[in-house]
Amino acid sequence: MAQIFPKWTNNLPLIISFIGVVVAICVVGSIWYFASPWYTDVGYQPSQPVEYSHKVHAGDLGIDCRYCHNYVETSQHANIPPTQTCMNCHTIVNANSEKMLPVLESWATNQPIEWIRVHKLPDYAYFDHSAHLDAGVGCFSCHGNVTKMEKITQVQPLSMSWCLACHRDPAEHIRPHEEITNMSWIASSTQRERAQKIIDEKNISPPTNCSGCHR
């Protein structure tokens, strides 16, 4: 009687298990990466109703972040400026630019501009801008170099593990208070010692337990 299975099938279990391992690694790896905020959130760059350029305003013109986001040091929210803030300059500067149309319309009709949220934390996470600025965490640490962005893009995953990494060891991100909005500030080689001095001075102890952010 002829054999039903040819000889090469003796290797079949080995081949199947090898393919199985490769597939498993691929599946786990792709979920690991493609389902993580590093893939789903980083790089999010929606088109805003106004073609507003942070590069021009914050970069080329060098306007401080806090001119528009003026409550960032007093409130948990870094407020989006009211139309009025735009009109402080734009009644004189570029008042007839086409890009200004939605702003002028908002100003004339008293209807707010509906901006699209780029940096979003889950509803059950409570983040306070003012506390972070007070500790000396610069805007750059979470928002990236805004002065180079035509359109605001999310550059960090804003995930819990990412938050916790800094909460467990904030030294890399603590800078002197006068430098918090400076996008081109470069940490020196003595960053850790300098940061430690600020941490001790201000008694900075970022919470790492659930109640720190979730309530």
Binding site: Y71, K120, Y126, C210
Partner: protein, 977 residues
Amino acid sequence: MENKDKKYWRSPGQLKDSPEYRQQLLDEYMTEHSEDPNQFSRRSFLRIMGASMALAGLAGCRRPVEKIIPYVKQAEEVIPGVPQYYATTMPFGNSAYGLIVESHEGRPTKIEGNPAHPSSLGASNLFMQAAILNLYDPDRSSKVFHKGKEKKFDEFITFYKELFDKLRNEKGEKLAVLSESFTSPTLSRIKKDFEKAFPNAKWIAYEPISDENRLLALENLTGKKVQPVYHYDKADIIVSFDADFVQSESDSITAAKGFGAGRKITSPDDKMNRLYVIESGYSLTGASADHRLRLQSNNIGQFVLSLAKVLNQRGYNLTELSSNATIDFNKEWLEAIAGDLQGNQGRSLIVAGRNQPQWVHEAVYLINEALGSFGKTITFTEMDDSLSSSLDDLKALKDNLEQGQIETLIIVGGNPVYNAPIDLDFDKLITKTKSTIHLSEHFDETSSKCDWHIPRAHFLESWGDARAVDGTPSIVQPLISPLQNGISDVEFYSLISAGENKRGYEAVRATWGKLIKGDFETGWKKVLHDGLLENSSSKSITPTLNNSRMTEPVAAQVRSDRLEVVFRSAHLYDGRFANNGWLQELPDPVTKLVWDNAAVMNVKTADAYNLQNGDIVELAVSGRKLETPVWIVPGYAENSIGLGLGYGRKKTGRIADNIGFNTYLLRSSGNMYLSGDVEIIKTDKKYKMSNTQDHNRMEGRPIFRETSLAEYRRNPEFAREMVEHPPLKSIYPDYDYSKGYQWGMVIDLNTCIGCGICTLACQSENNIPIVGKEQVGNGREMHWMRNDRYFAGDDNDPSLVVMPVTCQHCVNAPCEQVCPVAATSHDEEGINTMTYNRCIGTRYCSNNCPYKVRKFNFFNYTKDMPEIVKMAQNPDVTVRSRGVMEKCTFCIQRINRVKRTAKKENRTVYDGELQAACQQACPIDAIKFGNINDPESVVAKAKKIDRNYELLAELNIQPRNSYLAKIRNLNAQLNKD
């Protein structure tokens, strides 16, 4: 009092160990499965979701676009994310409560008492806390109606202006105004304008629940309108005749605070006041009493006279009164009270409840005067700018209406068709006029009978003012524009009095120009900031009483087998809070009923008529009949039936309608509060009620600890010694909690009155949903803080104790040890935290919690919440979804807020900077909360008091909460055990 063997029980069923009770014990959440009866079932939901998931598939992975909408022009003082606080006032009949209201981006979310206000003193009552939900009531009326047709407010103004000219030409001959009572400088000024424009018109006030009998008694004896102000804090002996002064009488906050001040003992050497309560029902004041005597309300007046007789024999000049005494009551009691009163001259206070008739109040004031209480524990102020409720005026109005003397009837607030005495037939009377106008928050029973209905603004949407009970003028300022196009009281009064549509702001400013001394604008700004005019209480007067004018006492009813009914107001007040879900779902402190009222009676009375809980009876009061269910509460007086007012609404809203039974149908002008003409007939119908008395049991353990003052002095450590256990050792390694903030709480059971305000304040602060009658029946109420009520003693005359229980924040928390996903864990400040987004809803934690304080979201209770109700939610607290466990967080949002503020200022949080919501609202300061690591903090000091004990400490779970045991200051003469 022997307390080690004292048995505490929650319901007659538990005492008798009935089969129904046994069954209930078995299952915490009852046997109902988790299908929402109003929704489609879980299985069909999954089927449909399966299909749509396949379609939605990848699109579901996309991140939803979320908008940020800034202002166009930023309001100068609004910082997004930082709440603002405004001072305003809640007018309430002849009282007024000062408030501090928290507002998020122009949206009021939380009400607290104004510490500077003499009537609220920083604390709250139930109605203050619940008022925020009334503001966002989606069923409030938002439109003007004329004979069922929608009209514009301008059309009403045109109509009224025409009418106004005609009425003025007639000098108001055929005009009558029926309003609510008020004490307000502006309303009173406008009323004077009204009287000038319409000299012959009538303006009367009616409130279904009022202090009319008390005020009439004083007016009769003194010859002028005076308002009594009670100083419970100065009284060492308090005797209450049917007066539930800590909860349901007027100005209960100051009363509770004063009463509590006399019971805050920190060591066995401290003095403590003594409270006697003689009552028919079981009130919270009765529960707080050191000695309580059950007596039918109808006989309480005679007891007062007997007391006068005994005092007369002891040398007080009360001959007139004592000559009327006809019954000999329990001699021991009378002698004990009289002895205490005599020994505490000028430091005693006797009060009678609002349901007692005028003559009883007169007798009580005469005794108080003889005992030298005037000017000490009771002071009086003249009633300025006030209009109080008058039943006689209402009866006169009825006659006028019947004889066709009134053509135009304007009803400002109130709901007389629903709540006027039934014998006045108000619904028929109202049709005997040519035109009727009704201003009200809802299109209610009265509105539907009137020609015109005008929507009324909430007090948080209005300008106005009111005087506190001591006369201090306080300002009512709006926090938000009328959400439902309501017209404020001041604007409406101005319109009817002058025919002008004047802005409320101007009307109020015009009045305050005369009140504020010095520069007006500076003074006005200060008033707006403080909420009241500083140092402006009315001068207190000490009137002399003329006892020859005393009203003839009504003869006693000696037969105790004769039934009586007593009408009482509870959580819905007179029915105006009927559409408020928080108040509907707050268990009654004594009956523990929710979403219902019932005919409440004691065990013996129920046995005599062969009645059980839930049996429907037909009550006949003076021939008027009503079918209502029975609820049995041990400790009521024999044959005394309590009836709650405010239920059985028909035309108010989604929450109020068809809930409970309308007891106003039995209430006539001859027996507003009491009636002895009652028959009871059992029907064979049954009615299902939801009751929380047997929920969340902590079976058979010494939970509540109390003793007498004498016993406490003998053994100050009694509370801790009540439980003996071997040395406690944990298998888990110890964590070092000795650094930083360590949060902890102490609840003083000696001052706690069990009013339930902590539950409501917590509900408001922490976005706790209401679940409805049926779900409460299944044991699924969501309250993070509950008030356990226990009886002790026999079921005929038991004592009653109340204990607020919330998460005890155990250091060795049993819930944390069983959570499979670490959704509940400890933080380094000792708080047992809950991470909702981790919770998968196994409910192991709740099962393992010895206190039963964890609550599970069986449904997504907030999903179908109308948008306008969502505005009441606190933005600093997560709104929980279905399938998530939740519980007390020690108000973590408040802790984090003060910690951040302190950190920014580079300091530590100081004691008193932080208050938990329950603590802040508590009228009696029974709750202390703070950093127990700070030896100087109030809470750390409280934990060192010898009465301090921890609930179930023998389980070695090391709760962060603890309790101070209750002490009763017993009179040795009455305590023979």
